[in-house]
Symmetry: C2
DNA sequence: CTGTTAGCGCCTTCAC
DNA sequence: GTGAAGGCGCTAACAG
């Protein structure tokens, strides 16, 4: 920077002002400085800027801590894409934050936040009593949740109405004449699971179907868990006639198991799922799924974070639409795409 | 930090040494300092450390610039997972680098590198005359390529033998009696496309099959491109009896079009593809695909980057195994998983 | 083993 | 509109 200043015949402060596009600077010197910057192929040292200005132009994205498995879920890729779209528009970069070896969830946050590495954070799909949220809240860290938080109701967040979506999906199956509907879930401490479970229960109740304890089982958000849990269902005395699965990945596992057991989908057992990844679309039979608009979740979360950073925050919670995409796995007539 | 120093009754340097786990420091003071750090809930300012030490403990991952489309490809998610696995082990974080508005590929690199934001970079699947590589090379930036570089042969990189893989896949189809084999590709300026194309040509030649110009067409690495290109194939006078597709996503588009045209796969037309995402596994019919071990590509790339950073770099190029996963789309007998 | 002294490269008052 | 001085929080010699 000194070089630039010298060559342009101005002081370092002036160069600094040009870089940050300060208003009160003459067009002439500005132009001159920009030329010299170009000539010397100068780019400001981001780190030094951050240190001096206490801003990083970076947002952190916290990956879920059961990352080993779930990192690979299409949901995150889509959300990340949405975030990236908005961030790059604002000239921000994205820091992917994962737990370092043996570090717990709150430690990561402390490290990142107290280390001043980012201006704000986006969290994805929290677990229930996520101590992290408490920490961020208490320390006044700008952050947005993709998902919902049960403990506090004033957390800036972007989410679907997962309870209602699950209600709708369950209702759909009931209206199609099914009354032995099971629910296969992922990690029980994830908030999204709880909400989907609630919607499922509410629908059963509204339609006067007694809840059967054997019909709610869960493991991990993974394909093989879907497979394994479906095995368990098939061993029940009172075999189900429909399965709702908390995630497409799991539903593929379920579908595989059903096929192996010579169950016909949808005739013997209907199958419906969440997140509408391409997997659901191209499975055979194709699987009815809830489109949750993951990319939009990412975009809106990022937008909201910028709103907070610019202190023009509006409402706290934003709800993104969902939509049931009906496919073969719930359609007895084969006339649906 | 000053507070910690004061309370622990030592100097700032000592605290600094404890933080960086300097060897020549007494266990007693170290312990004392650590206690005080804990007590004051102190975490070092990463940015300040970076400025002073000229290291960031961060690696940058450059997303491909046709990101709009390709960001969503499972390949990147898997590679990113691999990278993240190794990085977090070394206590590094990952900066996702995308083009800011109207910024070109080389500008991004300049901004990131000259801005000292990262210690090293991982690039994914470069385009052919990627000016970026030249820039990085000339400026002695530590970086690793996932993919190959045609212009220079001393670039640290991790890749599959895509040429051979494509050769094998083509040969497989030929041995199954097909001789009107087409190739549907993605962006032509991507290196991986070129190599796969070369392998395809070599196989044709080795088996004395004349190359038909109409049989090589390409567009983008997207589902709908696969669909559209397949349409074109189906309008040819001399309809093909096999299609090789450069990516699973595209192959689904192709498959959809074939079904709509009442073509039987594999009977009328065989279909084979690259990257072996879950989509290929669960499509109907399931699609033969090349498993390229994306996660391993990411891991190895990251490992190599650390080797370079620690200056114990070994060979430049590393080749990761691939494997043909045969599925229904190329099997006339239905006895394959 | 530990303290002292200078920066790292930039931004931000405060003058002029 | 511009320059000078001080400081952001930490590390890196250099002493001892």
């Amino acid at each position: 920077m000194k070089d630039v200043a010298k060559l342009a015949g101005v002081s370092a402060s002036t160069v600094s002002r040009v870089i940050s596009d300060d208003s009160r600077i003459s067009q002439r010197t500005k132009k001159k400085v920009l030329e010299v910057m170009e000539e010397l192929n100068y780019y400001p040292n981001t780190i030094a800027r951050s240190l001096a200005s206490n801003k990083t132009d970076t947002i952190g994205v916290i990956m879920p801590s059961y990352k080993e498995d779930i990192f690979i879920n299409p949901f995150f890729q889509k959300a990340l894409k949405g975030i990236s779209l908005i961030a790059s528009q604002r000239f921000f970069d994205i820091l992917i934050v994962t737990n370092h070896k043996e570090e717990n969830d709150v430690d990561v946050l402390k490290r990142i936040i107290k280390g001043k590495r980012v201006d704000g954070l986006i969290l994805t799909r929290p677990k229930e009593d996520d101590g992290g949220i408490k920490f961020l809240k208490e320390n006044n860290v700008p952050f947005v949740l993709i998902g919902s938080c049960l403990e506090y109701d004033d957390i800036p967040s972007v989410d679907n109405d997962n309870e209602q979506a699950s209600y709708d999906l369950t209702s759909l199956l009931i209206r199609k004449g099914r009354d032995k509907i099971t629910f296969i879930g992922g990690e029980l401490d994830s908030v999204v699971m709880k909400e989907r479970y609630k919607g499922y229960l509410r629908a059963l109740k509204d339609y006067n179907i007694t809840f059967n304890e054997d019909y709610f089982i869960s493991d991990k958000f993974m394909e093989k868990s879907g497979y394994y849990l479906t095995s368990r269902l098939m061993n029940l005395d009172n075999e189900p006639d429909a399965i709702i699965v908390a995630d497409d990945l799991m539903s593929l596992g379920a579908l595989k198991r059903l096929k192996e057991g010579n169950k016909k989908v949808p005739e013997d057992i209907m199958l419906a799922s969440f997140n509408n990844s391409m997997l659901a679309k191209y499975a055979n039979p194709s699987i009815t799924s809830i489109e949750i608009n993951s990319i939009e979740l990412g975009r809106k979360a990022c937008q909201k974070l910028f709103d907070i950073l610019e202190e023009k925050s509006r409402e706290n919670k934003e709800i993104i639409d969902y939509k049931i995409i009906e496919r073969e796995s719930t359609s007895l007539r084969k006339d649906i795409d």
